[in-house]
Symmetry: D2
């Protein structure tokens, strides 16, 4: 019986790069948070502190900035692929690179003036290894709410159940979605298309459970976007609790709610094409 | 020489209330975070634990919910005034009430579907006491960036100065603004007007310092909005540091930046009408 | 009627400096977050973008690091005073400097090994101007809880009151305390003394209201620490709500609680010596 | 080619429960954040909104509180196992339950007075399904620093490498550790033992890379704690950057550092017994 080193990886997390494209007075802006993670023949540094195979995380950060200048930043998927391929191709000890990007978006206010969009971020996670390349794109922080057309009843009950059934409630969630591609695609076209499908399904689904809404959202993406083979969703149920106003002689027909922080329901699920090749490593 | 109780206040902070107005299938949504703070004859509870003059903070919370039902929520200033007046008028021991509201905004996606706007919040702070009523409105979390038309040079230098002068830099900030009214006004009209003035001044000012931009923003509000008598701004300088790409044989003509977290410059200032009555207690 | 510039200040916020003292193998560690704020003759930069009187915030940051080397960091009050005096003395346009420091503490694990203490920070705010020097020290993030010896009853009731009176509840708070000194003192001795007085008063006070506990905490500091003339406390009431277990056939004699996030009570108060000179500007 | 539902689960996240044990005047306190996640025959709710197999997340929350009363809370592993077994045993549709607990610790100040410990939390993740039971315990938020005995040199260099080699640097990290057990053990004894092994290895390892320290920490746990079969560590490299004081005529022999926020290195690795049965699902 021995003690061994198992799976491991390392890299520079959260390199913040802002890239301006200056075409005369009219500028374009890209604002990314880039995290790199490399794996390969790294036993020597763990077991003996021999760093000959370790490309410093500081170098990884420098590469992000240099590539932003040399190649520009258009779609985050392309930028991530370029970085990941570079690390695998140029470092003999690195066999696998994972690049995760969060893109903050900005609205244009003028030729070189911008306002940052709030909570929502576009994401991508790219994995490149000797067996292939995988791209998962996503979004986080998109908060959606339907103030009606949501029910919850007919559920299992036991001795600890006190929740009253309801035929009308608020349904709200902060969408955390990631979707896997079968092959490279037109990233600039795909992202708004997938996002629109997610939003449309949330808005248009008359919901009997957040699970039903989750499945509808994933299914809608797969129906509308042939380039996507798998969708993974994590949907917190941002509870809006009806306030009991009876002590004050008032009724409350779904008008006044507490927006609760904790606890919250959390619904997680995957919707995929039945012939999609499985690859958990992409996520 | 004795020990005495000085200024004090108490209240319920961060009551989260969501109010739905249901007019058939088309709904309206208000989403507030309400903090109440009361002061008056409260020595007895501090000195002797005698609570006869203490309206519980739980009751304050209940009042927020009941008022949301009874009176609805339209403009946050009106809702805050109603609450503040209620506490002073109905509790003999309470002589001063301060109600602070943060309003989260939602975009409409459908008749009863909404998407939460991200980081920006509209705020109001209302103070009611026996001497009068004061209203301060504001906004927080509005992140603005100019990718050029900003310089910084000609500053004082001492033995600890290493910053190079620049004739072209990114200027970015997260606007924290509060403005005081001389009298009640049309709150629904005023808020977007003040916000537009702040944004326009940021975008249109060719800036030699963030201080200059701050003053321009405050001045613009006072020029365009007669109902406002004083503007207070706190503008963090969200530094975008030019990356030195020379080690990689690359120039960097204001194209690639690090978006830095800490430290940050912080510029705070007040712009007011010369005849504005002073009242710090309103803020 | 004109538009004028009112009070204003600027500076570098949140400069993070870690200072190691290396005395052979045994090291000492200081970990500070330093914020500087300067005011004076700064109209020109606001009104005309003329920065001749503006010492860059970058220079302020450099000064923090250089002083950490040149003078070391022992007590945060001394370090803050040294910085504040320097800015006022060396810059003709700067008439007032405010330096705020948060000190993170570390426990010793070995001669040069340390473990960071969690949430609690020691603070100081030093103000130096042509009229004098003021020192306010403080602490934040000290979370205290009594699981009994707390009651709340006999309070004012109105039509919105539903809270049941209680003769036994949990009392918990996150202490945010600041205290003002009449004159320089032995900072290293004073801090643990004041902290101990605050904790002892919280633990030993049989509480009929959090207000009573607040006053007891402030009074205890003034009784035990002659160097302190004023104490300001902000105590959130971190509600622990008794869970109703009756639906499950269980009683709950103050054994099972929900630790709630929002809303929370917030009790703020000042306790001071009756002969303390008033000076709000110190806080 | 069809669209199908893949892996899914749901539950109540972040139920905050505080349990007081009152043995006369001397009280004990447990403070947990409990997240439950259930999976099984849940297709009907996703595909058709049929909730007959769905035990509400509200019921899961109630169960946490009721069990806290009925069975008390001693070791978090036992409490999590009891909850997880209950859901699988009592709900025909639920075949797998995962319970994750974060335990906040409090220091005793008196018979019924406590001070909350800061950033560090003890964690456990328990999985119960028809195939067996798995327990993973852990800790998060333990911030450690060595102010010397750390080097980094001899690493791979490419055209983007600018980092200077160093024979003396600060090494600091926030330990995120999880360890898997082969079988139930004495949880109360095991936790402080594993924690002590992690800390001792960090303190005593003369480090040539954070990877080497990571491996030493994992190995030390396995050497000292026979009940543990696998350790997974995620160690952010909390960079402390040496400040260049040369512009001010000062040297800086590892005395003054910037504590940087972003970016940061992130080293992740697994150390395990060579005969440990593999089971990723436990984490």
């Amino acid at each position: 019986m021995g003690i061994v080193l198992g799976p491991n990886r390392y890299g520079k997390a959260e390199t913040r790069v802002v890239r301006v494209v200056r075409d005369g007075q009219r500028h374009e802006l890209r604002d990314l948070n880039v995290s790199v993670s490399l794996s390969g023949d790294l036993d020597a540094t763990h077991l003996a502190g021999d760093n000959a195979g370790v490309l410093p995380t500081d170098t990884q950060k420098n590469t992000v900035y240099a590539f932003a200048k040399e190649h520009g930043i258009d779609q985050p998927e392309d930028f991530a692929l370029r970085l990941a391929r570079h690390f695998v191709a140029s470092q003999p000890t690195i066999h696998r690179a994972r690049v995760h990007i969060e893109q903050h978006s900005w609205q244009r206010l003028g030729p070189h003036s911008f306002q940052r969009d709030g909570g929502e971020t576009r994401t991508t996670t790219v994995t490149v290894d000797t067996a292939g390349e995988w791209v998962v794109s996503g979004l986080a922080g998109l908060v959606l709410l339907n103030s009606t057309d949501s029910e919850f009843w007919g559920y299992a009950k036991d001795g600890y159940t006190t929740l009253p059934e309801t035929r009308d409630r608020i349904l709200a969630t902060a969408v955390d979605a990631r979707w896997r591609f079968a092959a490279p695609t037109d990233w600039a076209d795909s992202y708004p298309g997938v996002r629109a499908a997610l939003v449309a399904a949330f808005v248009q689904t008359y919901s009997l459970s957040l699970q039903q809404t989750l499945y509808a959202m994933g299914r809608r993406v797969l129906e509308e976007r042939p380039e996507v083979v798998e969708v993974r969703l994590a949907l917190p149920n941002k509870h809006h609790l009806l306030v009991d106003l009876a002590p004050f002689g008032l009724d409350n027909p779904n008008e006044v709610f507490v927006a609760a922080d904790r606890p919250y329901g959390l619904i997680e699920g995957t919707v995929l094409r039945s012939d999609a090749p499985s690859y958990d490593g992409a996520f």
